[in-house]
């Protein structure tokens, strides 16, 4: 009985993973960037670069999204929101930090109102450097993330994700 259930579970996991890799829905959040990265993200979705051909779709609600594309050095006001959005997303979820200031604070590092990067607030899966990164770089980053998820490499299940650092620590402090 148990075995049967496991097989069903496995098939289902495989299916969802297949769907996720082939059509990830992304959510975009600007945590206090200069806009440069945001317009480049938008540019990747428009005809010249067309991220949609990889099945990527820009989604409006955190509850429907698989991947969070996040820009900006995280200002103190945006921090709470970023955590809230991250927590509203369903497991498994992935975060892509886009732009130098999302990685480390960039030019804004050390400003009194910034947290010096997304990593300081929520766990990040992929980093795309550049100020701003070119659309090709953003596509490359997303493709690399997708490749790392594809069943050929390994399957990401909820259990795998559990050993990621949770946001709770960040919230508590």
């Amino acid at each position: 009985m148990d075995e049967k259930k496991n097989v069903v579970q496995e098939v289902m996991d495989g299916l969802t993973n297949w769907a996720r890799v082939n059509s990830p829905w992304v959510l975009h959040f600007n945590s206090g960037s200069c806009n440069g990265c945001d317009i480049e993200i938008l540019a990747t979705l428009t005809p010249r670069y067309d991220l949609e051909r990889l099945g990527v779709r820009l989604e409006a609600s955190p509850r429907h999204a698989d991947v969070l594309l996040c820009t900006g050095a995280v200002t103190r006001q945006a921090r709470e929101r970023l955590i809230r959005i991250y927590e509203q997303m369903h497991e498994p979820k992935f975060v892509v930090a886009i732009g130098s200031c999302a990685l480390s604070g960039g030019v804004f590092r050390g400003c009194y109102n910034v947290m010096n990067g997304i990593e300081e607030v929520i766990p990040v899966d992929a980093y795309i450097p550049g100020c701003p990164p070119r659309p090709e770089a953003i596509i490359d980053g997303v493709v690399k993330l997708l490749n790392s998820l594809s069943p050929a490499n390994h399957q990401i299940t909820v259990a795998d994700r559990n050993d990621k650092p949770s946001t709770e620590k960040a919230v508590e402090e």
Binding site: L27, C34, N35, G36, A43, T46, R48, T75
Partner: protein, 402 residues
Amino acid sequence: MPDTAASKRFTVPIGPQHPALKEPGHFEFTVDGEIVTNAYVRLGYAHRGIEKAAESRNWVQNLYLLERVCGICSHIHGFAYSLAVERLANIEAPPRAQAIRVIVAELERIHSHLLWMGVSAHEAGFDTLFMYSWRDRETIMDVLEGLTGNRVNYSANVLGGVKFDVTPTQADIIRKGLTFLEERTKHYLDVIMHDTMFLQRTRGIGVMTRSQAEVMGALGPTARASNVQRDLRVEAPYAAYKDFPVQMVLDTRGDLEARFEVRINELFESYRLINQILDNLPEGELNVRVPRRIPAGEMIVRLEAPRGEVFYFIKSNGTDKLERLKVRTPTICNMTSVVRLSVGHQLADVPMILAGIDPCFSCNDRTVQIRQADGGAQPNGLSSLMSWEELRQYAIRKYEAR
């Protein structure tokens, strides 16, 4: 549900993360049925503390920091800052550098207006126009990249001039790009003026009369669409605008359609201006040396960004760092009009009204603390903060005492 007034009145919160805006801003609209009865905006999510950070960096480093005040109109910030520093140091960039600065500023205006046209068409649900205008915008991005080496944040300025030259080959590439865009823009103007569906979303929506625009302090194309003659390139020409005058584009209707038409007609003006400058590019040096320490003094510079007037105040104390920097960008001035104009419109029109001013949150989010002149009456040694009402009374007293 009981049919009371309270059950019909409802507050719709929007943001700071929401699909229509790419930037964080929070809005609350009180609606009665479909009609907005009250609007409230909370800004500040993108406040990073750039003005303070600028005080701890040297003159050259600040150039690159200030370009990142806003990624869409990054050149104008570098332009304003270098102009201010040059005026403080009492030097002038060579004419060729001034002309190249203006070329980049106009290219930036083109990219910004095309970007805006796409985004606001998207707000109207007209995604075809969004995709087309962004496709064509890539032409300008290519030109900017070829010229400066970067698509966004191009850092064309150095203190005392510009970083690169415009060679005849590059001039030809720019001309070719502009010819293509001019054709496309004619088509867009036609679409915006004649597409019945689109006109239903723009004609007579968000009307701002001239006196309203003046009272609310609207700037840039938003004001010009209400027939307010306010364009620093014409009123107080700077750099190469002195030698290459521009024509102010005005409209009397003040609705969204007028704002679309003003911006698109400005595109034609920019194409013409760039071509004119390219044909008459002054010869000479690209930059002059600027001392490492800038003489003490204060300087104000106002430039016309794609969205309106950018204001820079710089105070130097004679060292290699500045003492105080103040930046004011046009969106904060135009934001009042969004709050006022939304009232009485349908909720569905609000994104369009907001997009109509071409908002840019990353550059308008800054804090101001005004302290009493009581010289450290508080235990922490700081003067006490002034409340809004105190500030108002103070201003009235000061004004009357003049």
